[in-house]
């Protein structure tokens, strides 16, 4: 196996792992979304590299021109759709972070969990008093 010749896969894998790690390790929700974004971009690069043919040009048919080697356009076109999906996910994600920031006053995951726990304890206490 020619590892150096498959370098584009290593780029994809590295990006994907950086994205994954960011999602898991970062406390800030915006950074989590950025990690998610990186993760999606790595897959887009993976698809783009699938369609590449060595020495190939853009797949444009010119009347009368000699037949040429061209890259497979389909994976590239598919990624236009995937980019749109990625943008939509990022937009919804960031909108949720804005709402979370508004409702909790923070967008750090640990602090959010703390607040939720306090809420729950408070609700349990209120219920206990109500019954007593």
């Amino acid at each position: 196996m020619n590892l150096a010749g498959l370098w584009h896969y290593w780029v994809v894998i590295a990006l994907m792992m950086i994205g994954m790690y960011t999602m898991i390790a970062r406390e800030n929700l915006v950074k989590k979304i950025m990690g998610l974004n990186l993760f999606q971009v790595s897959v887009i690069l993976f698809y783009v590299s699938l369609g590449k043919v060595a020495g190939g040009t853009a797949p444009i048919l010119i009347e009368g021109a000699p037949a040429t080697v061209y890259s497979n356009p389909l994976p590239h076109v598919l990624m236009l759709t995937a980019i749109v999906v990625g943008v939509a996910v990022t937009a919804v994600g960031l909108a949720l972070v804005v709402r979370i920031q508004g409702a909790y006053g923070t967008s750090e995951d640990a602090e959010l969990s703390e607040i939720d726990r306090a809420d729950e304890a408070g609700a349990a206490l209120a219920r206990g008093e109500g019954q007593g």
Partner: protein
């Protein structure tokens, strides 16, 4: 007109969503969205009739024949899933976001209906299309709409639930995309039927194995199969009650359909169960889901969270049915798709009725509600009997087929496990019944039932679950035929 039914199935709800944005006026949007949803359901019923009569329907989008173009391909399996999704959608949509439990202001209700229709269009699209990249696109349409709907819950934790649903769901969707990429790399096609034809030649390739692994995990996240279910309890607990009813009844079911498609149509049973041998793995996962889900449900203090964990457990039954790879097992899994949609949809709607009157879904606050809201609690209890699998309810039919499949496969232990986990379901249903009927009502407990707008859909779903428990030839009959078709193709 008739030959264009497959595409209308998707186009009508998909275009209905932006029209909702234009209409804006509350009453007009409600009437319009309801009409769209029922129209979609009518088309689904017509489709299933055509498929039963003539067999598979193939529709080439824009006249471009597959594998160049995208095709919609409806066989009994899709038609069955489409009917369930659009039927539940048509019943749940007119309720609107519910009476309490959401943050949708009256002037913005049109956005709710738009998101609902988009979610429905996405789910139907996943089920109907014969193109695997199309599956990814529709999956993301439905998921994005679902994140939005979950975020409308009235507690601020709904936002966090929607956020983690978004992160998990996107990882799942992206995994599906990677898997599709590998498949395309190996075969040069995205058409499912074409993939099924070309894949057997390259099944030994490591890239195909990787593709299957990515697709399985990706779909597994959307299906919330144990241990990838972490997003589900919070999402269902904090979403508006009507949204929980719709998502619990449809979203995971469509993911289950996708799993069946992958395993039986695209990769083939010989590869999945033969070469890879994942049946034992699936069975362990399913059993874990059935027991851990049910045990978690027993320990909940919130009614919606109880139902959500019960969903995790019920998904275990479906994947268990899949793991047998036999007609009886698949029939059990498939019929449970419809049955669970009816029961769980109905039960979540009953919770919506309770929330509408009391403003809370804590089990402790249900005390004596059996006497104050008898129709609502009766619906809940009947749905609960279905979850346990009492004869004359739909749950019994599913479990009958599953136990039959286990005995057929000579795995008495599994058959026994199905029965034991049913007992666990009895425990968590009984907890609610005990509080609602055998305790004195609270001072603050409401007098009178929930409004008819909520009560009627609840009873339609629960009533259907009772009807199909007795008249089994419709659901179980079609499920059995679909299972046979699926296994025939797989051979």
């Amino acid at each position: 007109m008739i030959e264009h039914l497959p595409v209308l199935q998707i186009v009508i709800p998909l275009l209905g969503a932006p029209v909702c944005l234009l209409l804006r006026a509350r009453g007009a949007v409600l009437v319009f969205a309801t009409a769209v949803a029922w129209c979609t359901f009518a088309i689904a019923l017509a489709s299933i009739g055509i498929v039963l009569e003539q067999g598979e329907v193939v529709y080439a989008l824009g006249g471009w024949v597959a594998p160049l173009g995208i095709e919609y391909r409806i066989d009994l399996l899709n038609a069955f899933v489409i009917t369930v999704v659009s039927g539940v959608g048509a019943i749940v949509l007119p309720i609107g976001p519910g009476i309490h439990g959401h943050t949708v202001s009256a002037s913005r209700e049109y956005l709710y209906y738009a998101a609902f229709l988009l979610c429905m269009a996405g789910l139907l699209g996943v089920a109907i299309t014969g193109d695997i990249f199309n599956v990814f696109v529709f999956l993301e349409i439905s998921s994005l709409a679902a994140y939005t709907l979950v975020a409308l819950g009235n507690q601020r934790r709904a936002l966090r639930a929607a956020f983690s649903y978004l992160v998990m769901g996107t990882i799942g969707g992206t995994f599906v995309l990677i898997g599709i990429g590998f498949l395309y790399q190996m075969t040069g096609t995205l058409n499912m039927a074409d993939l099924a034809r070309l894949l057997p030649a390259v099944l030994d390739n490591r890239a195909v194995h990787a593709a299957f692994a990515f697709l399985l995990v990706g779909v597994g996240i959307k299906l919330a199969v144990f241990p990838l279910h972490q997003w589900l309890p919070n999402a269902y607990t904090y979403a508006p009650p009507a949204v929980s009813a719709f998502l619990a009844a449809t979203a995971t079911k469509v993911a289950y359909y996708l799993l069946l498609r992958l395993v039986f149509t695209i990769f083939g049973i010989g590869f999945v169960f033969g070469a890879l041998g994942i049946a034992p793995l699936l069975q362990v996962i399913s059993l874990a889901a059935m027991f851990i889900g049910a045990l978690a449900a027993i320990n909940q203090t919130d009614l919606k969270r109880l139902l959500a964990y019960s969903s995790v457990s019920q998904i275990g039954y479906m994947t268990l049915g899949l793991s047998f790879g036999s007609v009886a097992g698949l029939t059990g899994g498939l019929v449970h798709v419809a049955n669970h949609a009816l029961m769980k949809g109905g039960m979540f709607l009953a919770v919506a009725c309770i929330v509408a009157r009391t403003g809370t879904s804590a089990i402790a606050d249900l005390r004596g509600l059996g006497r104050r809201m008898p129709a609502t609690m009766a619906a809940f209890a009947l749905g609960g009997l279905g979850l346990i699998g009492v004869p004359l309810t739909v749950g019994f039919i599913s479990k009958w087929y599953l136990v039959l499949a286990a005995i057929e496969a000579g795995q008495m232990l599994l058959a026994f496990a199905i029965l034991v986990s049913s007992l666990l379901a009895a425990v968590y249903v009984w907890r609610v019944v005990e509080v609602a009927w055998f305790q004195e009502p609270l001072q603050s407990a409401p007098h009178g039932e929930a409004p008819l707008r909520l009560l009627i859909p609840t009873w339609v779903l629960i009533g259907a679950s009772l009807y199909f428990g007795v008249a089994t030839d419709l659901t179980a009959g079609i499920a059995a035929q679909a299972a046979e078709q699926l296994l025939e193709v797989a051979r």
